[in-house]
Amino acid sequence: MTVASAAARTPASAIETAALGKRFGEVTALDGVDLTVPHGTVLGLLGHNGAGKSTLAGILTTLARPTSGTARVAGFDVVADAHRVRRRIGVAGQFAALDDRMTPRATLVLLARLHGLGHRAARARADGLLELFGLTEVAGRTLRACSGGTRRRLDLAAGLTGRPEVVVLDEPTAGLDPVSRLTLWEVVRGLARDGAAVLLTTQDLAEADRLADVVAVLRRGRLVASGTPGELKARVGSRSVTVRPADAADTAHADRALRANGIVAALDPARGTLTVAAASSRQVTDVLRALDTAGIDPGDLTFSEPGLDEVYLALATGHGPDAALDAAPDTAPGTAPDAAPGGPVRGAA
């Protein structure tokens, strides 16, 4: 088959879910998720613990079946065509899927052989991946005697033995040192450049910001936003204001005062700060007036362009302008936000 005819077969989207749902008895882990990831794109999936990230990753990798809706990966249904999906995916789950009694090299060679490579090709593939992930030195050691980061890297390498066109990585950089993390970022970017689609879950917002073309936020199984990092920042508010009351004991007090005025702030108890998305200076005035009325000295006052942190806090905790965000999901990456930035972070009235 020629490349041209393969291109004709290439589905529009590498990952496509429609009204995807997953229930575990009483628990609804996923609820009506509509997600699209085109080829050549990195999607960063964000969400609190228990938001449903791993559940989604599990369904996309055919490990679990959805209880409602559909998911297509590389153009094939994950339930009806699971086998075809498996030919095209690469997976690294949240927990390493390896055999402790084996060495890194033996693991990769075995997987490459199972992918249909001959002896020699499998060994070459294994060596290439060992090199790429900096595992050459420990290649002959049993995994039991390897560090956690080594396992993690081997698990990622293992996910790439089959030259997948869709890659699903569940918290790939958890437990990696900064150098390995940078290596992984490069590998992921390289995969996307080569036309693969990558879905990765992460708790690291800087990672999502730098690495992902599109960011999607899950909250209690629902997709509450998706768009480029830039779009999401723009939607949450063009800027934010952070106050740190002079008296740290006032932080909680200040939070109540703001709430009483219908303003919801993201509280950072460790730093004693309150952050409020504020698109206009009027909203900054509102914050200050509310604090003044309550007799709280705003102390340190800083303005900042929104980072993904603010976006995430606003979205993942549900203390945000949901209506505005929910109204415009799935904006194609690269397009400008269609609506004016959302209003101030007013409480959900």
Binding site: L63, R163, E165, G195
Partner: protein, 275 residues
């Protein structure tokens, strides 16, 4: 088509694609399983000396049985005993395959296998094929030790002895699948061992393995005659003693096939099930 789509298509072309064929998967996994088995040097060493205590204890303690009613005339007890040990060795070998399987099912690699274009039954077939290799090593060790140290002789000649080993391997194969099915059910090694222990004792002793069936009390005789292991022992013993063996040999192979045909599909279905 955009440049990205083209690159995606190219990527698809470079991918190994269909994965290995099922026979190739089984080959790769069998080689892997056998290698893992042989690389455990301590286990291998233990396997090689394991028949010694059995030969010594059973050979000495039970040799008086050669005088019980129904015992074949003019046959040294060791020649009567070795076929029984061959079949119980096969039994243990089957159990070992299943224990290995619980290790694999409890480990992480199996969940990666579930995301590969792999027929998961290959894992079971490979394990049972590796079980044959293990069984062969153990059986040859047993026969060689019995021959060199305890004066065991095959009265049916070398060819009959080879066939006796093959019959024992058939028993190991069939029971291996039965135990692997239990392994897929119980998932845990300890539970499997407990269940197997429960079955092992009556299987071994309520049979013709160590005593002629004729010497047993009637109710136990009934049990022993229904015991599938009795068929295996009868076949192996007839071969080794140079007696007519064809019906028993055929029955044993048929029984092993039947057990495999019933248990293997259920085991494969269980292991393939997600969640």
């Amino acid at each position: 088509m955009t440049a990205v789509a083209e690159r995606a298509a190219e990527r698809r072309e470079q991918a190994p694609g269909d994965g290995a064929s099922v026979p190739a998967q089984i080959g790769v996994l069998t080689a892997h399983t056998v290698q893992a088995m042989l690389s455990d040097r301590r286990l291998l060493l233990l396997t090689l000396v394991e028949p010694l205590p059995m030969l010594l204890v059973f050979g000495q303690a039970l040799s008086g049985l050669a005088r019980v009613p129904g015992f074949p005339r003019g046959v040294p007890y060791i020649d009567f005993l070795v076929p029984a040990l061959m079949v119980t060795t096969a039994l243990q070998s089957g159990l070992q395959s299943a224990t290995r399987l619980t290790d694999d099912l409890g480990g992480g690699l199996i969940s990666r296998f579930r995301t590969l274009p792999l027929w998961l039954g290959s894992v079971l077939v490979a394990q049972s094929a590796a079980g044959l290799v293990r069984g062969l090593i153990r059986l040859v060790t047993l026969v060689v030790l019995a021959w060199a140290l305890f004066g065991f002789r095959s009265r049916g000649g070398p060819l009959a002895l080879v066939l006796a080993v093959a019959v024992s391997l058939a028993v190991a194969w069939g029971l291996g699948w039965l135990f692997m099915l239990l392994a897929c059910w119980f998932r845990r090694g300890e539970t499997l061992q407990a269940a197997a222990g429960l079955a092992m004792f009556p299987l071994m002793f309520a049979s013709n393995a160590f005593l002629p069936v004729a010497s047993l009390p009637p109710w136990l005789r009934a049990v022993a005659e229904a015991n599938p292991l009795t068929h295996g022992v009868t076949a192996v013993r007839a071969l080794v003693l140079g007696r007519p063996a064809l019906p028993a040999v055929a029955a044993t192979f048929a029984l092993a096939l039947l057990v495999t045909a019933v248990t293997a599909p259920i085991a494969v279905r269980r292991v393939r099930r997600t969640e």
